[in-house]
Amino acid sequence: MLAQQLVNGLMLGSVYALVAVAFTLTMGVLRFLNFSIPGIFMVAGMATWAMLKGGAGLALALPAALALGAVLSWAVERLTYPQMRGGDHFVPLVSSMALLILLENLALVAWGSDQQRVVLPFASASARFGDLVVGVPQLVGLALAVGVVWALDLTLRRTRIGRAVRSIAEDAETATILGVSVGRVVPVVFVIGGVFTAVAGVLFALNYQQVSPFMGEEVALKGISAMVIGGMGNIWGAILGGLVIGVVETAAIHWFGARTVDIWVYGLLLALLFVRPTGLLGGGFAGGRA
């Protein structure tokens, strides 16, 4: 029973973790809390639902949803980043929030406000390990999540663009002086963040089989908390934070009831901010590794 709760918590946590990675990317590089992320998450989830309903296979729906996330995130960059230069650091908050309102209401116009049921193109299979029941799509999703984060970590540590991203995170001005083209690297950061958000949205749609125009909000708040708990700007911290929150949430539901979830999750966040604001794994981009 306890092990089953842990598994459920980790599954939920993997969705939070991916959203947390998206938040931590823009936060770590640009010190920008990007509120459009829940919108992109929702669009990816709802687009998956719409495409599956329209008869498209998963092989088409999945890449299409990810591409949509990338394009939307790039558009967000175009509309918010120019305001960040020279402006107050919380100004782009307004634009990114306006984009969230825009995406949510466009979805509302296109698909209505009802919660929609996602019909899976495959029979829901589950694997048993002794008493443990684990959904196969969830397992695949978890593996996918770890895979993309690992790829991101490698990219940041080993490639030219990764080095450029880390240098901007360290000090954008110095990076510019040393010949890093900030204007070219920043859109890449947004696109990567958009893809991560979209993966999370698709995973959510497939795992929990329900989507709605406002599905992103609650998940994004947990994602932000996960980012802080793991350590802002730290990718593996975002993963750890997401899993911690997923487990805390399922445990709170199990022992104290669904209504107390927010007290535990956000109480934990508040306590952590007081005691260790740099998070469990410490802040700093990609763990500050050179």
């Binding site: 509309l79 908050l93 825009l102 927010d262």
Partner: protein, 283 residues
């Protein structure tokens, strides 16, 4: 006055009060994303005092304002140990914990909401909004306003000039929270029903957006921001489905046009010069 117009004006007045609740900490360099939590505290305290102890609405609202400020003062010191985005997230977490705690408090109805018997009409709420504006105006024409701005401009220098940075920050945070509590109490007594779910983080974020859109440099920014956010969706009511889509596009356009907020110091100066030609222009 028609019922519709009065309804819109009540919401406007409450939103203006909320905007100043967010504005006070923002000028001190604190992004408070827990406004909804303080608003909920004020709303439930005032409702409880009238419902359970037979207080009248106005004294209850004032007491709730004071108690909310007291709560804020208690949490100010641990919260203000954090700074920047960490402070914003700490206030966010605090607001979430407050709303979730109320959701589990059965003495005030828990998840099923809390009906409020004592009613306050438009005149009282409008008077409260005017009083809050007047208080902020006076506050920013005293040393306090200048000191708070100095702290947010450069904390180190402000400290060296002998300003008590910690107390100024705590004061801005506490007064802002008290004002949010007042807005909550007025909300409770006007709409006669409150539920914890209403006071969510999106409400807090919206209130901060009023201020950022209006502009943080002058005390007129929050007034304009609250008015835009309240009235624009009403004006767009004609296109029911698309109104928030249009609204979002207009906000985006506005922020691209004026990233510092609509009302800035230089804009005000130009407006004043336009009314009263500057001496060098007269010669």
């Amino acid at each position: 006055m028609s019922g519709y117009l009065e309804g819109v004006l009540v919401v406007l007045a409450i939103n203006v009060i909320l905007a100043y609740a967010a504005f006070l900490p923002i000028v001190a360099g604190q992004l408070n994303l827990g406004i909804a939590g303080f608003m909920a505290t004020g709303a439930y305290l005032s409702a409880y005092l009238t419902n359970a102890h037979g207080w009248l609405a106005i004294p209850a609202a004032l007491a709730a304002t004071a108690l909310t400020a007291l709560l804020a003062l208690v949490v100010a010191f641990p919260i203000l140990r954090t700074r920047g985005i960490y402070l914003a997230l700490a206030t966010f977490a605090f607001g979430q914990v407050v709303a979730a705690t109320i959701l589990n408090l059965n003495v005030v109805g828990g998840a099923s909401g809390y009906p409020v018997a004592a009613h306050l009409g438009f005149p009282a709420i409008a008077a409260a909004a005017a009083a809050v504006f007047a208080a902020v105006y006076l506050l920013f024409h005293t040393r306090f306003g200048i000191s708070v701005t100095a702290v947010s401009d450069d904390e180190l220098v402000a400290d060296q000039m002998g300003l008590s940075v910690r107390w100024l920050q705590a004061a801005a945070f506490t007064i802002g929270a008290g004002v949010a509590g007042l807005a909550g109490a007025l909300h409770a007594h006007h709409f006669s029903y409150i539920e914890a779910q209403h006071f969510n983080v999106l409400l807090s974020i919206y209130v901060v957006l009023y201020v950022l859109l209006g502009g943080t440099q002058t005390i007129y920014g929050p007034l304009l921001g609250a008015a835009v956010f309240t009235l624009l969706p009403e004006v767009l009511r004609g296109s029911a489905q698309w109104r928030y889509v249009i609204f979002a596009c207009l906000i985006l356009a506005l922020m691209t046009w004026r990233p510092q907020g609509v009302v800035t110091r230089s804009l005000l100066r130009r407006l004043l010069e336009w009314r009263r030609p500057a001496p060098e222009a007269a010669t």
